[in-house]
């Protein structure tokens, strides 16, 4: 049960910590490279393209070529920028993305440091990244950057709330904030089956948290041209890029651990199950990117406060009811499905309204062309 890498840290020497952290950094970098390749390939296939094919077999070396290009590129410092803030901002973003991984276990025995309050630590550290984004926007002395930075602050803080509330209900279910206990508790039935509402809220809020489509508002390319990152280039930009993909992977990992049973699974070893599940979630994220347009900032905020937060409250309440009255597990499933159905009904109603309107337009159009035929003259 003792984590493998933990042994270094128990030596409590600087060397051990350095080795562990550089191992972690190396592994995360490889994961980021694989994610960029996967994203380009998946998006390419969704869009009837091939994605990278020229660099290496199936374009596998493309991420490495990209990384070399980014590092070799000139790093431009805008003359009017606040230099200290400009340089520090990417570090803050990257460090907070990186620190989350200190406590995430990838299998029963593999992890850097197991914390009993692991979930609390993760939600706390992840928020620090927002500061980096705001500073990046402010420090680059660019109006698009400032708008993007402020957008990111508004967006990420709003979506932090439903995430924390869902995390609380998961903690209530497992009676622990220790990620390994949470996974162990899902042994017969995964939480996705017990609390599907929680999975949906957590996944959607997670998308918003890492700024992925349809919530890629703070770096929206067609509006604020990259937002906080607009003035960054070369290596510093690549640090943001790295952090973004580490965060995406972290959200997919948390979805896997909290709801999909982490490394649990038959036959294959735990780490393989874990990677399969995480990459499947990541693929869903890319799939959404290839399908949906982007929301507007006010719609995003009202979605957070009018839909996600009440639903997250509802999740806590039904979990509490389930635990207090000691009901069977299927009752919780039923209660959360009811929540999903209610929201689904409202979204469905909003979707069919324009279709009805289109039918109305069609009938009016037919009327007009019939009238024109009756006139049968030239009309101006």
């Amino acid at each position: 049960m003792e984590p493998l890498l933990l042994t270094y840290i128990t030596l409590s020497d600087i060397q051990g910590i350095a080795i562990t952290l550089s191992c972690l950094f190396g592994i995360l970098s490889v994961i980021v490279l694989s994610l960029t390749w996967l994203e380009r390939k998946a998006l390419g296939r969704l869009q009837q393209r091939l994605g990278p094919t020229r660099t290496g077999p199936m374009g596998l070396l493309q991420p490495i070529a990209d990384a070399i290009k980014l590092v070799v590129k000139e790093d431009i410092l805008p003359s009017s920028s606040d230099k200290a803030i400009f340089w520090v901002a990417p570090v803050i973003v990257a460090v907070s993305a990186f620190m989350v991984w200190v406590t995430i276990p990838v299998s029963e025995t593999l992890g850097v440091r197991n914390l009993e309050l692991g979930l609390l630590y993760i939600t706390a550290v992840a928020v620090v990244g927002i500061l980096g984004l705001v500073l990046a926007g402010w420090g680059s002395a660019n109006k698009y950057g400032i708008i993007g930075g402020l957008r990111s602050a508004a967006q990420l803080i709003s979506y932090e709330i439903p995430i924390i509330m869902v995390v609380v209900s998961v903690g209530m279910l497992s009676q622990s904030l220790d990620l390994r206990v949470i996974v162990a508790d899902q042994n017969p039935v995964i939480y996705a089956a017990i609390l599907p509402l929680g999975l949906v809220i957590f996944f959607i809020s997670g998308l918003a948290e890492v700024g992925r489509t349809p919530f890629d508002i703070y770096h929206a390319e067609s509006e604020v041209v990259g937002g906080p990152f607009v003035e960054y280039s070369g290596a510093h930009w690549s640090v943001f890029f790295l952090a973004e993909y580490i965060n995406t992977f972290a959200i997919a990992t948390l979805v896997t651990i909290l709801f999909l049973g982490g490394w649990l699974g038959p036959i294959l070893p735990g780490i393989v199950w874990f990677l399969i599940k995480v990459y499947a979630v990541v693929l869903v994220v890319f799939w959404i990117r290839g399908t949906f347009p982007r929301l507007r900032i006010d719609q995003l905020m009202s979605f957070a406060w009018k839909v996600m937060v009440p639903l997250a409250f509802y999740t806590i309440v039904i979990t509490a009811v389930y635990l207090f009255y000691d009901l069977p597990a299927w009752s919780l499933t039923l209660m959360s499905l009811v929540g999903l159905l209610v929201v689904g009904y409202f979204i469905y109603r909003r979707m069919v309204a324009p279709a009805k309107r289109a039918a109305e337009i069609r009938s009016r159009q037919a009327e007009q062309s019939a009238r024109r035929r009756a006139d049968s003259g030239v009309r101006i």
Partner: protein, 376 residues
Amino acid sequence: MPDVINEIKNNSDSVELLLNMGPQHPSTHGVFRMVLWIDGEKITGVEPHIGYLHRGSEKLCEGEQYHQIITLFDRLDYLANFNNELVYCQAVEKLMELEVPEKAEYVRVILCELNRIASHLLYVGTIGLDAGAMTPTMMAFRGRERIQALFEEISGARMMHNYFRIGGLKEDLPSNFSKLISELLPLLREDVEESDKILTFNEIFLARLKDIGVITAEQAISYGLTGPCLRGCGVDYDVRKAQPYSVYNRFDFEIPIGLDGDCWDRHWVRIQEMYESLKIIEQALEQMPDGPVASSLGRRLIRPPAGEVYVRAENPRGEIGVYLVSNGTDRPYRLKVRPPSFCNLSALEPLLENAWIADSVVILGSLDIVLGEVDR
């Protein structure tokens, strides 16, 4: 409580932010520049700047012979080259009272309608990008690429065709034309349906476009909007029906209209227009007679009689008008173009009233301007 708010408002040194959007901005569709005054995320004022692509086309026309001007018209609305060539050729033909052979008219209509589809497909792609979706762009460009391949087969060029001539066409269609177009049309219908399905009724797309950039029919008419922007308000005005030119009165097609005059209605109208264009092409292919494709001009260098003429036609973006004054020489005395994009763009200010920053991009996208035509 309101006192406190007012006090904060009066005492705070908050100012409106002046945001320069363009000419180097990914979603201003070329080199259009908007200066926006924003209060938080809301737009309080806008000042459009045009002219970054000004080439003096109208003046250039005065120094060119009549045949040479066709190439200049190719470069006005560079997404609907055939439509532009058509309106210019019609102007000169009207001035010279020249008869165009039947077959040439049909070929012109087919090519113009194909070009309309290509242009609207590109619009679907760009509105998708403006709204933040990247897949429709790829799908739309695939369809457009198919059309352009056919254009290349016919005229030798993908965009600047220079294929229409005063009194007909440059040359007859290639011998494999019927095979090419019968292969193209079903694929094209699929492409149009696909780009329709992925965007039109998407929940987020609806949220971004419905009730955004609303303009009433009266306002639209007073601003001189034409094309899908006008029809989106429910006005069924289309030059192809209102004042049929070429052989458009021989085809059975509808004029798609919207109801509310918002961005989504303009989008809807364009999508429906693509289906109607397909209908026109199919009918034209059926009716197309055989025969010559160019009428004899008698001499190479044409000198239309002195006089003036105004001709209009329905471009993908709206009504294009050409006012041509001849003094009897081999070059026009004056040539004035009424470009649809330019007139549609004039409605930007009322459309952007009370809009969000993100809306400005979508509204500009729904006007579907081409800067080559705005700046001329």
